[in-house]
C-alpha cells in the first residue's frame, strides 16, 4: 500500500512571499517540546514540517541496562500523562516471554489502575485541548481547572495506592507491587461517581456551545482510508470510523470479563474525536465499577517478593506485547537473553504514530485550527521522543 503524500494546498495567492513561522519548540500550545514549521499564506497554513526529538532520553538503551524489576518504574516516564499503560506493556512483554501466569486479583488490579489512568489522561487532554482553543485567559482555562480538579482526585487514589502521584512503578513482572489499602474501594467508588456527574457538566458546557461547535466540527477531518494508511490508533482511529480497540480485539488481563462499548464516530473531525473520548470516559468508569464489584481475593503476584533487583530472570526469547493506552496502541518489543536484563527493547509509542497524521490534515486550515488539531491528536512528547 502506498502512503499518501502530505497534502499541500496551492491557493490562488498573489502576494509576494509566504511567511514561515515557527511554532515551538517553546510555545504555549506545543504540549511539551514540539516544533511545527508552518508555511503561511495570510492566515492559512499551506505546509507544515513537524520536528520532533527535543525530549529524547534514550529510553530503549536505558532499558538494556536496567533489570526487569527496575525498568517498570522508568517505563512510566515515556508517557508521563498515562504512566500506568507503558509499565503495563513492558511487564506484559516480559510475562509473554517467560510464560508467567498472573493471578486473577492482580489482573483486576491492573485493569482498575489502567482504566483510572485512562480517565486521568483524558481529563488532562480535555483540559489542555480547551486551553488551546479557549486560551489561558478565557473559557478554556475554566474547563482546564475543572478537569485538573477531577484528575487530582484520581491522582489522590494512586497516591494512596502506590505512594506516587505521577510515575508509579505499580506493575511488576508476575503481578502488581501493592495491594489495595483499607477503604480504597469505597473511596474509588465515590470518586468514580463524582467524575461521572462532572463529565455531564463538561458535556453541557461544551457541546451546547456554538463557539465550541464551529471550532471543532469539520476541522481536521481524517478519512477512514487515511487513518488506516498512516497507522494512527486509539481515539483518533475510532473517531474516523474504525472500530478497533485492543481491549476488545485481543483481550488481555481479563478484559474479556467486562462489558464495555467501543465508541466509534464516523465524522473524523475534532468533534468526532472529542465524542469518542467523552464516551471512553464513561466506558472506563463502567469497567472500574465492574472490576471493583467482582474483585477476587488471592495473591497479587505469582512470583515471590523481591529480595534483589536482579532476582527476576526471563528465559531466552522475544515477544511483542501491546495494550490499549489512552492515546492508542502502546507496544513493547522485548528480546530476552536469559539474564536479568533484556537484550533489546523497542517502544511503539502511540503519540509518535499518531503525530504522523499532522502533515496530512493541517494544510488548508487556519493558524488557529493548527492548535485545535494538535490538541485533538493529544500527543505526549515524552512518548513521542522516548
Amino acid at each position: 500500500m502506498t502512503i499518501a503524500a502530505p497534502r499541500h494546498v496551492e491557493l490562488d495567492y498573489t502576494g509576494s512571499e509566504r511567511l514561515t513561522m515557527n511554532m515551538g519548540p517553546q510555545h504555549p500550545s506545543a504540549h511539551g517540546v514540539f516544533r511545527a514549521i508552518l508555511q503561511l499564506e495570510g492566515e492559512t497554513v499551506v505546509g507544515v514540517d513537524a520536528v520532533i526529538g527535543y525530549l529524547h532520553r534514550c529510553h530503549e538503551k536505558l532499558a538494556e541496562t536496567l533489570t526487569y524489576a527496575q525498568y517498570p518504574s522508568i517505563a512510566s516516564k515515556t508517557d508521563y500523562v498515562a504512566a500506568m499503560t507503558s509499565e503495563f506493556a513492558y511487564v506484559r512483554a516480559a510475562e509473554m516471554i517467560g510464560k508467567i501466569e498472573v493471578p486473577k486479583r492482580a489482573q483486576y488490579l491492573r485493569v482498575i489502575a489502567a482504566e483510572l489512568q485512562r480517565v486521568a489522561s483524558h481529563l488532562l487532554w480535555l483540559g489542555t485541548w480547551c486551553l488551546d482553543m479557549g486560551g489561558a485567559l478565557g473559557g478554556g482555562a475554566t474547563i482546564f481547572l475543572y478537569c485538573i480538579r477531577e484528575r487530582e482526585m484520581i491522582l489522590d487514589l494512586f497516591e494512596s495506592l502506590v505512594g506516587a502521584r505521577l510515575l508509579y512503578g505499580f506493575y511488576q513482572v508476575g503481578g502488581v507491587r501493592y495491594d489495595l489499602p483499607a477503604g480504597w474501594v469505597d473511596t474509588c467508588r465515590q470518586t468514580v461517581d463524582v467524575i461521572d456527574t462532572r463529565i455531564d457538566e463538561y458535556q453541557r458546557m461544551l457541546e451546547d456551545n456554538p463557539f465550541f461547535q464551529v471550532r471543532t466540527q469539520g476541522v481536521g477531518v481524517i478519512s477512514r482510508e487515511l487513518a488506516q494508511e498512516v497507522g494512527i490508533a486509539g481515539p483518533l482511529l475510532r473517531g474516523s470510523g474504525v472500530a478497533f480497540d485492543i481491549r476488545r480485539g485481543e483481550p488481555y488481563s481479563s478484559y474479556e470479563d467486562f462489558e464495555f462499548r467501543v465508541p466509534v464516530e464516523t465524522s473524523g473531525d475534532c468533534f468526532g474525536r472529542y465524542k469518542v473520548r467523552m464516551a471512553e470516559f464513561r466506558e472506563s468508569l463502567t469497567i472500574v465499577r465492574q472490576a471493583l464489584d467482582r474483585l477476587p481475593d488471592g495473591p497479587i503476584s505469582s512470583r515471590p517478593g523481591l529480595k534483589s533487583v536482579a532476582q527476576t530472570r526471563i528465559p531466552k526469547g522475544e515477544a511483542y506485547a501491546r495494550v490499549e493506552g489512552a492515546r492508542g496502541e502502546v507496544g513493547c518489543y522485548l528480546i530476552a537473553d536469559g539474564s536479568a536484563k533484556p537484550y533489546r527493547m523497542k517502544w511503539r509509542g502511540a503519540s509518535f504514530s499518531n503525530l504522523a497524521i499532522l502533515p496530512h490534515i493541517i494544510p488548508g486550515h487556519k493558524v488557529a485550527d493548527v492548535v485545535a488539531i494538535m490538541g485533538s491528536v493529544d500527543p505526549v512528547f515524552g512518548e513521542v521522543d522516548r
Binding site: G134, R215, V367
Partner: protein, 326 residues
C-alpha cells in the same frame, strides 16, 4: 482665582479615579474568574488580596524593559502611548452625575466612538514595530477585527441615541428617567445584546481575543513588550473595557438613576457599569475562542445587517410614536 485651575483639576481627578478603578477592576475580574473556576484567587497580598493590584503595579514598574534588537525603535516605543491615550480620552465625555464630568459635549457619543476606534493605530504600531511574526499576524488580525466590529458597535449604540433624540450623553441619561432603554420593548433588548457582543469584540476580549490568542500567537501584538510598556498596554485595554461598560450603563441602564438621594447617582452608575463589566467577564471565562474567519463572518453576515435593520426599525418607531425622552 481658581477658575483657571479648573480645566486642569477636573481631568486630573477623573484620570486618577479611572486609574484607580481600572487597577481594582483587574482584582474584581480575577476574583470573579477564580470563583467561576472554583478557586479563591489573589489572597496573600493584603486582606483578601486587596493590595494585589498595587503589588502588580510595583512589580511591573521594577521589571527590566527589554527592547528587541531588530525592533523599529521609535514605533515600538511610541505604540503603548498611542494605544493608551484614546483609551483614556473616552472618559472625557462621560458624565458621572448630572453636571459632573470633564466635558459634556453635545456630540459626546460621537466623540466616544471616534476616539475608541483610534486605539487600533496603537495596536498596529505595536504589532509592526515589534518586528515579530506573531505580533505582525496579530496586528493584521487587529485591523480586520476592529474595523469589522466598530460598525455594529456604532449602530447598536445609535439606537439609544435615536430613542433619546440627542447625541449628548447627559441628555441620553436624562431621557431614561422614566424607562431605562434596556426595558424599551423589543428594540431595547436587541440593541443591548448587539451592544454587548460588539463591545466584547471591539475590546478584543475572549471569546473574540484573537489578537492576543496566546495559544496560537503567544501574546499577539504585545509579545515583545515587558515592564511598564506592557503595563501601559494592559492599562489601556482595561480602561477601554471600563469605558465601554460605563457607556453601556449610560446608554441602556439609566446611568445614575437609582433609589436614594441624588448624590448616590455616581455610585449607582458605577454599580451598573460594573454589572455590565461582570457580564462581559462571565462571557469571557466561559467560551472558547472563535476563529478569525468566523469572527469576520459573524460581524459582516449577522451582526452588521441586523444592527442596521434594528437602527431603521428604531427610526420608524421613533417617528411613529414621537421621541419618548425629550
Amino acid at each position: 482665582m481658581t477658575a483657571w485651575l479648573l480645566p486642569f483639576l477636573v481631568p486630573f481627578i477623573v484620570m486618577n479615579a479611572i486609574l484607580g478603578i481600572v487597577t481594582y477592576v483587574t482584582l474584581l475580574e480575577r476574583k470573579f474568574a477564580a470563583r467561576m473556576q472554583s478557586r479563591i484567587g489573589p489572597y496573600r497580598v493584603g486582606p483578601h488580596g486587596l493590595l494585589q493590584p498595587i503589588a502588580d503595579a510595583i512589580k511591573l514598574m521594577m521589571k527590566e524593559d527589554v527592547v528587541p534588537t531588530a525592533a523599529d525603535r521609535p514605533i515600538y516605543n511610541l505604540a503603548p502611548i498611542v494605544f493608551v491615550l484614546p483609551c483614556m480620552f473616552i472618559f472625557a465625555t462621560i458624565p458621572f452625575a448630572p453636571g459632573l464630568g470633564v466635558a459634556d459635549l453635545n456630540i459626546g457619543i460621537l466623540f466616544f466612538l471616534a476616539v475608541s476606534a483610534m486605539e487600533i493605530v496603537g495596536l498596529f504600531m505595536a504589532g509592526w514595530g515589534s518586528n515579530n511574526k506573531y505580533a505582525m499576524l496579530s496586528a493584521m488580525r487587529a485591523v480586520n477585527q476592529v474595523i469589522s466590529y466598530d460598525l455594529p458597535f456604532i449602530f447598536s449604540a445609535l439606537t439609544p441615541v435615536l430613542l433619546a433624540g440627542s447625541l449628548k450623553l447627559s441628555d441620553i441619561a436624562a431621557a431614561q428617567a422614566g424607562l431605562w432603554f434596556i426595558f424599551y420593548p423589543v428594540i431595547g433588548q436587541l440593541a443591548f445584546i448587539a451592544f454587548i457582543v460588539s463591545t466584547v469584540a471591539s475590546e478584543n476580549r475572549a471569546p473574540f481575543d484573537i489578537l492576543e490568542a496566546e495559544s496560537e500567537l503567544v501574546a499577539g501584538f504585545r509579545v515583545e513588550y515587558s515592564g511598564m510598556k506592557f503595563a501601559l498596554i494592559q492599562l489601556g485595554e482595561y480602561a477601554h473595557v471600563i469605558g465601554a461598560s460605563f457607556l453601556g450603563a449610560l446608554l441602556f441602564l439609566g446611568a445614575w438613576a437609582g433609589p436614594g438621594p441624588e448624590w448616590l447617582g455616581p455610585v449607582w452608575f458605577l454599580i451598573t457599569a460594573m454589572l455590565i463589566f461582570l457580564l462581559v467577564t462571565w462571557v469571557r471565562w466561559s467560551f472558547v475562542r472563535i476563529r478569525v474567519d468566523q469572527i469576520l463572518a459573524l460581524s459582516w453576515k449577522a451582526l452588521l445587517p441586523s444592527t442596521l435593520l434594528l437602527l431603521i426599525a428604531t427610526a420608524i418607531v421613533v417617528v411613529w410614536r414621537g421621541v419618548p425622552g425629550v
